[in-house]
């Protein structure tokens, strides 16, 4: 068994797939460098994130897959599930091995698995389009924390950029410790990192006293949430199914 260790990025993964083909390795594992344990005694190939190589794999896939298929591939990668790299490798191999399109072959376990994982990631992306809650932290900068199961922030950007194009905002993933900042003046997106030392726990990434107007709107929102509920229809099970408890932390309406 050979382990191809890569840097954890999407392009890194593509380069790793390239290496697997280049070395004609049939029993390959692709693994994130960070997870490489000293207990692995098999052969380890250190994959360099080489743009040319990733591009070739990317274009190869693009030739054979629909846009939907490419999206599935990327979304599955963002799931960060254990061993997902091996699944993606197997998927790529299945795609490259066949002359005709295999995308719709849901009888094939690899295709079905990818379809399912991509659907879960898509679902969480949709959830965070809903659950992001901005706070005006001063100077009309709107800040939101998120803690998604999967790494959905990259695929959230287009939605928020379209919707809030005339507003400055930051969305920060407190689980993965990075965020993005949108500047409405030049309409650019930049990555932001908040130094870990300025964070007490992962609860509050930025500790700022909110201005009274911000507090008023949060209170009004909570008030609205309470009053739009119909007590005699109460259905807690359904409520939690839609808004799982792990997401409550950053929803003002779920704070007492």
């Amino acid at each position: 068994m050979t382990y191809f260790s890569y840097d954890g990025t999407f392009t890194g993964l593509l380069a790793a797939i390239f290496e697997v083909y280049e070395r004609k390795t049939y029993e390959a594992n692709i693994i994130n460098k960070k997870l490489l344990s000293p207990l692995i005694f098999d052969e380890i190939v250190d994959v360099v994130n080489d743009n040319e190589k990733s591009k070739r794999v990317y274009n190869g896939l693009k030739d054979k897959l629909s846009q939907q298929g490419m999206k599935k591939f990327y979304f599955t990668f963002l799931s960060e599930l254990p061993l997902v790299e091996n699944l993606l490798l197997k998927f790529a191999q299945t795609v490259f091995a066949s002359k005709t399109s295999v995308e719709q072959d849901f009888g094939n376990p690899t295709i079905l698995e990818i379809t399912k994982i991509a659907k879960r990631v898509h679902r969480e992306k949709h959830r965070f389009e809903a659950f992001v809650r901005f706070e005006n932290i001063g100077n009309q900068l709107f800040f939101a924390n998120i803690n998604p199961d999967f790494n959905v922030l990259p695929i959230l950007i287009p939605h928020f950029k379209n919707r809030y194009s005339s507003q400055d905002w930051v969305i920060y993933d407190t689980k993965r410790n990075y965020g993005v900042n949108y500047n409405s003046t030049n309409q650019e997106i930049n990555e932001v990192l908040i130094q870990p030392c300025s964070i007490k726990s992962d609860a509050i990434a930025v500790n700022i006293d909110l201005d009274p107007e911000e507090k008023l709107f949060q209170a009004l929102w909570k008030n609205y949430f309470k009053n739009t509920n119909i007590e005699s229809r109460k259905n807690t099970k359904l409520h939690i199914q839609h808004v799982p408890k792990r997401y409550w932390k950053y929803l003002p309406e779920k704070q007492i």
Binding site: F106, A130, A144, N162, Q167, F217, R233, Q241
Partner: protein
Amino acid sequence: MNNHDRIHEKLSILSSAAKYDVSCSSSGSKRSNDKNGLGNTTGMGICHSYTEDGRCVSLLKILLTNYCIFDCAYCVSRKSNDIKRAAFTVEEVVSLTINFYKRNYIEGLFLSSGIFKDADYTMERLVLIAKKLRLEQRFNGYIHLKTIPGASQELMFEAGLYADRISVNIELPTEISLKSLAPDKNFKDILKPMSYFNKSILGYKSEKKLIKNAPKFAPAGQSTQMIIGATPETDKEVMLSAQKLYHQYNMKRVYYSGYIPIRDNDARLPSINTAPPLLREHRLYQTDWLMRFYGFDVNEILNNQHDTLDADIDPKLSWALRNLHEFPVDINHDSYEKILRVPGIGFRSAQQIVSARKFGKLDWEQLKKIGIAINRAKYFIICRSDNSFAKDALPSVIRHKILATYQSKFKSTISNQLELFL
């Protein structure tokens, strides 16, 4: 009372009074944003939260006022009801909408109102709010306006220019019921604007196909709501009336709102201790879906022999059990339309089945993985696997067996785990 307290009080009263309108959909409209504008709609709609009763919170759903000159028996805001009244100003509604939207709390505004002074006076204010949002605030989020019955056509026209969706509530399934419970209203005042909007929406749509920058007119169409369980109509009568609304007025949605008893001093209405008919409401929505997305005609599901939906099982299963001669459906050969009619197979699964079978015949294992509800479906289909459950069993036996699996859902996890070893 200071300003903050006053706005809080208004919001409590006017959101609480609006909550009985069940629609909260923000779908069906595509409005893109520009560099200086705020918001967009993407066609799909987003539920930003869910109430503790499990309903989607997508829009800021409020009344402009709960003062009303009418006296509809089923309504909390009726004239004769002794409650606290309040009214928002136009500016207040605009500011709430914009500030909620900027924080990503909502997709937009759903505004309706009690009637103060007269229909036109009220409607004018609703339209003014929508106009200010669009023109002054450059707001491109979702706006749903509920029109006031009896308001002038000019105002209806303006409403269509600024709103994404328009609704005119039918209120009750039949004219007789409306007469009895809402003496100030008449069917004509409700149907007239419905047909006006239907014509205008279709007209603007075809114009838009020809001229790209023709104005939008209620691009998300119109919807309506009827209260069920307040009056004695059967499920058949309810669904026939719904079908008519879909066909004649091209409704995007008909909403069924299970009546929640609010008073005990009116013999025309169910008493205050009656539970809201939530299961019935659910079955009606299922029937509505079968009608709109599964190719069923209402008459197949509800007719003179069966004018009431089965409470224990869903309407598709109930239909299938009455029509066993249509089964078994062959998963590997029969048409998509036939597969769609199998209990336990939704339209996503049906699509996947039709795609997947091109690569090889499917068996139970694969069907399970695709995600069909085998428990229900297995009595109605055959596939590549030899063992078949679709052998001329009696409907009553199949029904019994399926109901037994429903119960086992509530068995303890221990017995579920035991099942794995059997």
